[in-house]
Symmetry: D2
Subunit: 377 residues, 4 copies
């Protein structure tokens, strides 16, 4: 078992996302951390990369240097993770795909729908993997939920209700804190605040579990802290292509909610509930029957739920290992084993189309708008 | 302590609501069950009333007979509860108020906004109590929540999120069951299904805790079981007069949710959560602080929360005693002690106005509409 | 349906227990509060009784006067509740039984095993009901648990684990508070503190659900606040006649536990868990299967669980209605309908025998001792 | 940052423990997997090691070969993990310590108290690290609990109550399954079944959080499935050197409990609760105050709780990362940074002394026995 070679752009010292990706890539011994351009300050990035054990000639000062350095090596990296500020995702992802690298891009994949469509086209043309880090979809019990829906265990899905709400930006006296403020400033965050930051995880999850696409939506946005231009609370009603009704609430001012990401799926013959703070259980109720607790690691789970769990029943596995599961799927996909559940550029594009539609709908008093990317209409 | 005299219309043998009111009225020894017209079949109702201990001359065949019989007695009833089918609430409530009786009406108080306004005017003119049985508002910890908001413990309220969702009508194969079907049939249920049945409890709760009125709303209705004319799932976004943002989801097809009525209130300096399935706790988080569990019966609660609890801390008190709390407040109000938290005809009217606005909004693709009764615009 | 006539001794103004019994007796309209000797101060008691609506000639100054007054009436009370200080339970219960009254005695029924045996003999001889208020046993879902065990749904029971632990006496600076102190003072509380106060509820529950008797036990007592003579924390290991292993922990210094009474029953083919703070659910796991939530009010429950529930599924019913359920069973029993689940004098006696054995065992370093009353050895 | 070199003995293909250690050692990039003797079948072990990326000359056939191969290398491994069957821990650990290696031994460290004392002496003499994998102690919120006790936030600890109970061996029809049976067979498991397997984790946890040693204990063992020689259920009462009272229940027949390891600590001024199925929260109640939820990742936690958490508040971290935390502490300790919380040979020895005392106590009807190793009496 030779390790695959992995590189990262961004994720420098002091970031949260860098360690999460390093752990995700290395936890299962699948990837070797071989190259990096980790900081926007070239010297700082090179130094940090070397301290993390990367060879000096692969400790790059910026992504352009890394692209140039890696593209002609025989032992070029098998995968590059893009963990830079949001506005740079498009250009970097595009460049590496065009140069024939597999890419894992942090969300949001792009800032606009047009850019998203361009990435989809490039990825397709290149034949390379372009994954997007919707890592919650890689929790074992989320995979179980998806398999149960696919397997017809809920019947036709009627209704999906999902929330991603926290209260960590609820303190108005802290609203000028730069770590908070940028998210509500269009100059830095783009056209949407909380919906683009957290809401799209929930929207992706709805599509992921149901294996269906959002077609239309209506949004209500609010800036509950008045100094904010972009929304810190949003409600989005939507419909999926098979008629499923969707409800999505996302907030950053829900004081007392820590990581309030959950999803409920209701079908003809049963209902499911999963919550990110207790990710190792799936709550299932057959119509007319009793609510049951499905435990990660129990006998008889669907394949992906089994495969992506490492320790025995009721030994909890948390967020970092969900990220690691994305890397497990990537390693398989790089090796030619199909991993259709891996979120890809089309997912990244659909998120941008939904953000764009939600922003427009909110401005039009909740008008129902087409949420699909133009290329899929 | 002489007991007050109490009568009931409807709530006959085999109903759920009759025993709940009898228990509520009698649990604390405040009311004596003195008169009744309990069934739409006169003889059946008289017989049942006598079996429940009511004197033969006050066991009436219908409400008209009861009104005639009681109005001229010296020992006339102090309070009448109207627990008949929804479509009759208006006429009965109106008639008893006009004859100078105090009334507790089941919800919905009326079928139309016009009727609601008429009741408000009659109640005001009569000087009598016209209460509406929004009994969830009488749980001790709901009163605690209201008092905390009033006391400024959350600062200005920014956001209210409430759900009343269950899955008991989620079985399409049972959709023709008459006990289920009527709720989705306009001929019997009026203009709205699930929102009028459960949603208005949640909407009342939002206003009750915040002491603020809903001014505008936008609704998305769905009939997820296609044979239904009226909605079995609804999302309502709203605004209150002080700018508070509201989100309300109600469903009867949420398989696995049993009695999913909960509310979250988020203000400038803290957040609260209360859920009807664990009604004896209130979850409170001060901004920047740790989540705390406030227990019914702990020291230092606000007055109403203390007064309306009967047994020591952590001894649970459930739904029937919330109904009994409504009767406690009624007994006090009848005795001349102000109980401003008691839901009244204005609350009943506001619910009808909200239902009317929601139905119209849903038909107009979620247009934002005025949710206030005309008389309060 | 004529109401039965009910009297109470003790439970005067300001007590917690008086209102609980009044609510319990009257909530379902089964009993009329006809007589009382409510306070150790005769005038205070008479006055309070009359304020509660009792006729002047049945508002008694003390229990002797009440016994004399009631015994010769044609309309004598059908049931008397003994809610006086523990040390007086024996004498009052004995006297009323001997005079041919049905009695509901608060726990502990007596202060000694000998007294307990005497009550059992008198009750048997009199043919009257002598119930003891182990009211937790009347929660619907506890009855469901008992029926499931009886029905073989768990197979042979191997193990019972029960706790009754709270932290309300955990503040050493409050240890001299008279409302707390007496419980740890042998002069007032007898031979045992926390075990006799709360532990015997848990021990009764184990026997109640398993329908089996405790035969042997070994105890470890601790006075974790050193000023206390009697134990404030106890662990009791026990065995039942069919070989079931028992574990019982009770504490009053478990700061953070409010009403920590729960029980787990593990058999050959399944396990059950019930907790008094969420009394409307029973958690059930079949061996090799998934954990299920059994809801009060769901279809297909065993008879007693159905009968003793008043409102629909997931509408919580709490402690006061568990007390009311004891009165429901008493009303039936008085009317000649067998209610074998109603806790009786033998249960009261077995508790005293267990307390006596536990105290002795704790003094003998946990020696295993016979826990049965002499008359049942 | 050069990676430390790490080797493992045992943990071959198909084991659960091997992947857990590999993930633990590599997740944070601290150790390089440099050597291994992974299987009792030499060829199988060598092959597997090479497939895991170990160089051929360090892929050993057995531990003796590995010891011989590593001891004279300049680049010898910095740490060896012993993950072999229990009966071999002593000999391997002893041999590597004597040869000057740092060791992480799986629990139980030894099969007897004598062996445990020998390891303690050898470890001390060698000056090398001998850690034992009580990995639950490395959860961030367990470290927080320990720091709170140390910091006096609970006052003097009065009482510790801990459980480690599951139901995975509760199926009598599966009792002959070799994966289950050996645990209850003295020939394979030694003198104790469930207590030695799970109970000692709980006992270690009590000592770990309180920083106090168990001095005396009294045990009640049961084999609830009659074919078992060793206990499958045990209750152990104990005392610690400062007078703290302890209660420990452990079971493998508690059907419905999955991973029921929890601990409650009650002191003069507060109580704490931690449960392994929700390891990212610590529940804290100050005396006389409200219960609070302390979240992993919140501001103001004690140092170890901060240091050993990788992702933001409410992003759960589970069991594998608790193991990784043991390796984090080991890396620091190897580098000369004191990590006093790392469980060591003395902890391993104390566990064996407690097992020995519990077995003897259970045979002597619960006699209270000295639980300390002879060398610490």
């Amino acid at each position: 078992m030779t390790k695959l070679k992995w590189g990262m752009i961004g994720g420098g010292e002091g970031s949260q996302i860098g360690p999460a990706h390093r752990l995700g890539a290395q936890a299962d011994g699948l990837f070797e951390f071989a190259a990096g351009a980790l900081d926007h300050r070239p010297d700082v990035g090179r130094d940090y990369a070397m301290r993390l054990g990367i060879a000096a000639d692969r400790a790059y000062g910026d992504w352009q240097e890394m692209l140039a350095g890696e593209r002609d090596r025989d032992d070029r990296i098998d995968l590059v993770t893009v963990a830079t500020p949001n506005a740079t995702h498009f250009e970097i992802t595009k460049s590496f795909l065009e140069a024939g690298f597999n890419v894992l891009c942090e969300k949001p994949m792009t800032m606009t729908v047009d850019e998203g469509e361009e990435i989809v086209r490039i990825a397709e043309k290149s034949g390379k993997i372009c994954a997007v880090n919707y890592c919650y979809s890689a929790y074992p019990m989320v995979r179980q939920a998806r398999a149960m829906v696919e397997n017809g265990e809920l019947g036709q899905v009627r209704l999906v209700v999902t929330n991603f709400s926290h209260g960590h930006h609820g303190d108005a006296t802290d609203a000028d804190n730069p770590r908070v403020r940028w998210r509500y400033d269009p100059a830095m965050a783009g056209i949407s605040g909380q919906f683009a930051d957290c809401g799209i995880h929930a929207l992706h999850m709805a599509s992921f579990i149901c294996q269906d696409d959002v077609t239309q939506l209506s949004a209500d946005f609010a800036s509950t802290i008045s100094s904010r231009v972009l929304e810190d609370d949003a409600m989005v009603n939507f419909r999926m292509s098979q008629g499923t009704v969707g409800r999505l609430w996302t907030s950053s001012v829900a004081i007392g909610r820590q990581h309030g990401f959950d999803i409920q799926v209701f079908g003809e013959t049963g209902g499911l509930r999963w919550a990110s703070e207790q990710p190792n259980q799936l709550i299932y109720t057959p119509v007319g029957g009793r609510t049951q607790i499905i435990e990660k690691g129990e006998g008889g789970l669907h394949d992906d739920a089994m495969r992506l769990s490492r320790v025995a029943i009721a030994h909890p596995e948390g967020f970092p290992l969900a990220v690691a599961n994305i890397y497990c799927d990537l390693a398989d996909a790089i090796s030619g084993l199909a991993r259709p559940a891996l979120p890809n550029a089309v997912d990244g594009l659909r998120s941008m189309a939904a953000v764009s539609a939600a922003v427009a709908s909110a401005k039009q008093s909740g008008a129902w708008l087409d949420a699909r990317p133009p290329m899929f209409r």
